[in-house]
Symmetry: C2
Subunit: 216 residues, 2 copies
């Protein structure tokens, strides 16, 4: 399957790398078509990897992964172009972290709204699914690294079929044992609100190799 | 030891009941000294149980447990009286849930502040420790009910001694296996922000018998 991965940072590299490793084609998108980091990634990732502008990537992908920093999410999607997102699963991994007042970050949207909902409102024809935004990127694509995968990913979205499609990739390609469907996209308020706790836990443990498990 | 439990609802009854069962003395405080629910509780809880006004309870307790609804927390503490809180461990279990716009609730303070911090600012001589606000009350005092206790309580507070004292009660009397000290009271922003997710998980599972575990 053809995937667009918007963002060239650690999250984008983890997602695109895993997709290619699983036999998918992935095109990494950046603000500039000739992004250096994306070019380096393509060389190392092999023949199923390519790169280009946000619009190049989004036009290529049947599924679009939003792996930018949260404060760049809407700009990246505008550059990708609404027509290139129409009808597609748009997996939103970004978080509305606000570092402008120093560490630890606060959230630039929270409580009564979420970044996931802002994105869905801005691109009503995309099928936004919020997931994987609650853990570090190496675990996103290899949850078995930690406790044999005995922990949880969450999922929020308004389109049942898009959530099924995303769950199939998370389980089939990334190895997730359980993905908890929280409901519609307004439930992304809950998972985006995990970040303030995540950041503090990171401070306590001194590393990012942890995740939430819902024990019941 | 003598404990004040402010609040006569399910949380107050769970905390006060467990304290008495463990051989402590607990006085339940309410807005009115002759609160009916508190009187019923005392009859059933036995000789180490008593009740009175918020001030009666707080004057009695060497430790004060804040078990009111979040929007009543500051009023209850004002009624208890700053002098009755001075120098004492004040365990804040309350959550800033705002039901005024219907279900699910939002938070009336979040992101850049927390109810725990508001309480500490209003009562600077109390030693506020935020804990147990992230799970249902039956599990607060009997975590072994769920997965043999293999899940977590969190703790936030500015006073190391007060956190040690609270941890000793949680482990020694309530049976918690692990309490994660997140740091100073500003980390309560993180645990109070878990509530929007908790509420959605409650909706998915249809019951409150679950908790967060940090897998690492």
């Amino acid at each position: 399957m053809k995937h667009a991965v918007l963002g060239t940072g650690m999250v984008g590299q983890a997602i695109a790398g895993k997709l290619v490793a699983k036999g998918h084609q992935a095109r990494m998108g950046a603000r500039e078509a000739r992004n250096e980091k994306a070019a380096v990634w393509v060389k190392q990732a092999g023949k199923n990897a390519s790169h280009g502008s946000y619009a190049d990537a989004a036009a290529f992908g049947e599924v679009v992964w939003l792996c930018t920093k949260g404060d760049g999410s809407l700009d990246a999607l505008r550059a990708a172009g609404a027509a290139n997102l129409e009808g597609k699963l748009l997996v939103d991994i970004s978080n509305p972290l606000d570092f402008s007042k120093g560490m630890p970050p606060s959230l630039f949207v929270s409580n009564t709204d979420s970044l996931g909902e802002q994105i869905q409102r801005a691109f009503p024809e995309a099928k936004v699914v919020k997931t994987l935004n609650t853990l570090t990127c190496s675990l996103m694509v290899d949850p078995a690294q930690l406790a044999g995968g005995d922990h949880h990913a969450f999922m929020s979205g308004n389109d049942a079929g898009a959530k099924q499609q995303a769950t199939a990739i998370l389980k089939g390609d990334f190895g997730w044992r359980e993905v908890i469907d929280l409901g519609d996209l307004s439930t992304a308020r809950g998972t985006e609100s995990l970040l303030p706790l995540w950041v503090r836990l990171y401070g306590v443990f001194g590393n990012a190799s942890f995740n939430f498990k819902i024990v019941r």
